[in-house]
């Protein structure tokens, strides 16, 4: 550093007459002409890939990288290289790095969204054949042979099974999860930090282990049979960490000064939690439970080991095999028969729709962060507050009046 400064100084001293040529810094950033670069590079990418495709049969193959994904990869690579080169014309390395980062990052987001849209779209499109028949929602598969058409049989038994399993799992995991989340957010001790780490680790625990554990404990050790209840137990173990984690996140967003205000008014901790913390985070807590349901509904592996399989309706979760939507979809997909397969696609599509609805409703409920209220609610609160102020003023007035009467 200092060497360089000395050198610069020497240069400046030796040639004082020559003024350094001032050149404008190369432009960096995104403006109108960058759009032209971008569109041009895109065109170059697409047409380059098309050219390679056209010439491929003539012998100039590019390793038989055919098919949609291959062409897209080639087009994208050409696009990135061309875009980098075009940017280089007007900018320096710093600018090129910035431009390439912007393009790569945006395309990663586009890729993710494309993947999501294509998975959802493909599943719904494959599933619509059986989804449009009303019997699909009202009948089970007991009477539907391999060759019966889509007007016979459906997924009613799996629907009932899923509803039972999720309800039981929810009854177990929602209270336990919410109380644990309260514990994690309201106390700060070494033990609570340990529990939080454990919950984090549990979130990423393979879900099949929940099934295996219930299998080892509930079925092998305690001698119960495979049933909806066993599956529900496995699902509740699997859902618990999700509920705890997201509820804990929401509870930690409750402003500390609300808690302190409550404590300063003399409220004990449980009352602060009940009347201040939980109501403030209500919508977030609902979201965390709904997201837990969305997770549990789609999970197949814990149910696979614990619930058994049946083709007929079973409304008793404590006795006999029970099937859930994901398991039915897996089972039907595996069959060689096209009608059964179509029902499998439809079951998966229905499952996806249920998850979508749950997810959207969770987002709607969680539209606001903790403490933020809708305009209507705000005016309600303000009216209530005005009433309180009036009441206090009235009572004060009355008190002074009484006092005045008492001292003549």
């Amino acid at each position: 550093m200092s060497d360089r400064a000395v050198a610069l100084h020497a240069v400046a001293a030796s040639a004082p007459a020559v003024a350094p040529v001032q050149r404008p810094r190369p432009r960096v950033g995104f403006d109108a002409s960058s759009w032209q670069d971008l569109v041009g590079a895109l065109v170059a990418g697409v047409s380059g890939a098309a050219l390679l495709l056209v010439f491929a049969p003539l012998g100039i193959t590019f390793g038989k990288l055919s098919g949609g994904i291959g062409v897209a990869i080639i087009a994208y690579l050409i696009f990135v290289v061309v875009y980098g080169a075009v940017t280089w014309l007007r900018s320096d390395g710093v600018g090129v790095a910035n431009a390439l980062f912007t393009v790569l990052s945006t395309s990663a987001a586009v890729l993710v969204v494309t993947a999501l849209v294509s998975i959802v779209g493909w599943t719904l499109w494959k599933g619509h054949a059986a989804l449009v028949h009303s019997n699909f929602y009202t009948q089970d598969m007991a009477k539907a042979g391999p060759n019966s058409n889509l007007k016979v049989g459906g997924m009613a038994h799996a629907l009932v099974g899923t509803v039972w399993m999720i309800s039981i799992a929810l009854v177990i995991s929602a209270p336990l999860g919410l109380v644990t989340a309260v514990y994690l957010s309201e106390t700060k001790s070494r033990f609570s930090r340990m529990v939080r780490t454990l919950v984090d680790a549990m979130t990423a625990l393979p879900t099949i282990l929940a099934g295996l554990f219930i299998y080892a404990f509930w079925i092998l050790e305690l001698g119960n049979e495979q049933s909806g209840l066993a599956a529900a137990l496995a699902l509740s173990i699997m859902m618990l960490p999700y509920i705890v984690r997201s509820a804990d996140l929401v509870l930690r967003l409750v402003p500390g000064n609300l808690r302190e205000a409550s404590a300063a008014l003399g409220a004990p901790r449980w009352r602060t939690t009940r009347t201040v913390v939980l109501p403030t985070a209500r919508s977030g807590l609902a979201t965390s439970v709904i997201l837990g349901i969305a997770r549990g509904i789609g999970e197949a592996s814990p149910v696979l080991l614990t619930a058994g399989f049946s083709t007929f309706m079973n409304t008793n979760p404590t006795k006999g095999p029970m099937v859930s939507l994901p398991i039915l979809a897996l089972n039907l997909i595996g069959s060689p028969n096209n009608n059964l397969k179509a029902r499998g696609f439809a079951t998966a599509a229905f499952l996806l729709l249920v998850v979508l609805v749950l997810f959207v409703s969770a987002r709607l409920i969680a539209g606001r962060s903790a403490g933020e209220v809708s305009p209507r609610k705000r005016s309600q609160l303000m009216r209530a507050s005005a009433r309180d102020a009036q009441r206090i003023a009235d009572s004060q007035q009355m008190a002074t009046a009484v006092a005045a009467e008492a001292t003549p």
Binding site: G29, G63, K64, L65, G67, G68, G70, G95, A97, N98, T102, S105, T106, A108, V112, V113, A115, L116, I119, W122, T123, V179, T180, V182, Y183, S189, F191, V195, L198, D200, A201, T203, A204, L205, P206, T207, I208, L209, F213, A216, E221, P241, P268, R269, W270, R295, I297, G298, E299, A300, S301, L305, P326, A329, L330, A348, L351, L352, L356, R363
Partner: protein, 349 residues
């Protein structure tokens, strides 16, 4: 408790305010909180529920170990070195399956990590404010899509689309041992897709799609918390957006990046249904990731549990125990890294 540390200096101030000039050593008043009955119940109930979580994780380990004992005792150390799964004749071990599991998970993470980092950076740094919520919702939704749906999409659509890519890699990069497909003339255009389907590669790409949203969500959170002052400082020094990200956001979010990647690795190790539905199971190590055949511990359990003998079941429990131990270690490391980093829970300002 934090209240004790908070009140101590307060009390000293009070002592000074009393104007005690006698020179005696001032001692802070002992702080004693009188807990009411309600609070005592509250404390006990919440602590019990926290304890229950501990009990559940412990019970998983204990019961898996108990159920696995017969198999572990019979196989001994060979359980970790045998590449076969025939428990009824006493030849079984997870060496092959474990390596195949790790292959799937590592390839998935290698594919998913750059995409996740870039997508998370897009959401926090590039995306216009009003579209940010939409992207966040879409990524979270992608994490909520059931694995059955991914598996079916993979088996009936995505596998067919991936086979040409696998063929390309096998044609040009077969000098890399990992990409070599033995016994197949890859340059022959008449070779069908069969040698390339049901492979580790196909499954790993699908698992990568599944873990991208998880990774992106964690990285997004840690990038978002990069301090505004340092960002503005970088811009004020003439940095470009990428320069700012490289010098502020990425170093700050390193903990989140590592932690998110390790959590995704844990998830990829345990993914069941995709492997179960797509792969054609082998029990030896298949290093040729593009060629048919692979396995994972969770798929092994899901595939074999139905018709296993009691002893075979014990062997599966042992495999489950190995998976449990592996993922738990990885997750603990991940959680430790995330919470040690500056972007952890402590920086809630």
């Amino acid at each position: 408790m934090s209240t004790a540390t908070a009140t101590a200096p307060f009390d000293l101030v009070l002592g000074d305010a009393r104007g005690d000039q006698s020179g005696e050593v001032q001692r802070p008043r002992k702080v004693r909180a009188v807990e009411g009955v309600g609070d005592r119940i509250f404390t006990v109930v919440t602590r019990i529920s926290g304890f229950l979580v501990l009990v559940i994780v412990g019970a998983i380990g204990v019961f898996l170990t108990t159920a696995a004992m017969p198999a572990l005792r019979k196989a001994g150390f060979a359980f970790l070195t045998t590449q076969a799964w025939q428990p009824d004749i006493g030849r079984f071990g997870i060496a092959g399956v474990l390596v195949d599991t790790i292959l799937i998970a590592v390839i998935a993470v290698i594919v998913a990590t750059p995409i996740s980092i870039l997508a998370a950076l897009f959401i926090t740094e590039i995306c216009p404010e009003r579209m940010r919520r939409l992207f966040v919702t879409l990524v979270d939704l992608m994490a909520a899509v059931p694995s059955v749906v991914y598996a079916i999409f993979g088996l009936f659509y995505f596998q067919g689309a991936l086979v040409p890519v696998a063929r390309f890699l096998a044609t040009w990069f077969s000098w890399i041992p990992l990409f070599h497909v033995p016994g197949v003339d890859v340059s022959n255009p008449n070779t069908g897709g069969t040698p390339f389907s049901a492979s580790t590669f196909v499954v790993a790409i699908l698992v990568a799609i599944m873990i991208v949203p998880i990774q992106t969500a964690i990285m997004r959170e840690s990038f978002r918390l990069a301090p505004l002052g340092e960002r503005e400082g970088a811009y004020a020094l003439g940095s470009t957006r990428w320069g700012m990200i490289r010098s502020v956001v990425l170093p700050f979010g390193r903990g989140g990046m590592i932690g998110g990647t390790m959590l995704a690795l844990g998830r990829a190790l345990g993914e069941t249904i995709v492997v179960y539905l797509i792969i054609s199971p082998v029990f030896t190590v298949n290093w040729h990731v593009l060629a048919t055949g692979g396995n994972s511990i969770s798929a092994l359990i899901a595939l074999n549990n139905g018709e296993a003998s009691p002893f075979g079941r014990a062997a599966l429990m042992a495999a489950g125990l190995a998976l449990f131990a592996t993922t738990l270690v990885i997750n603990f490391i991940a959680a430790a890294i995330v919470s040690r980093s500056r972007s952890g829970a402590e920086s809630d300002v």
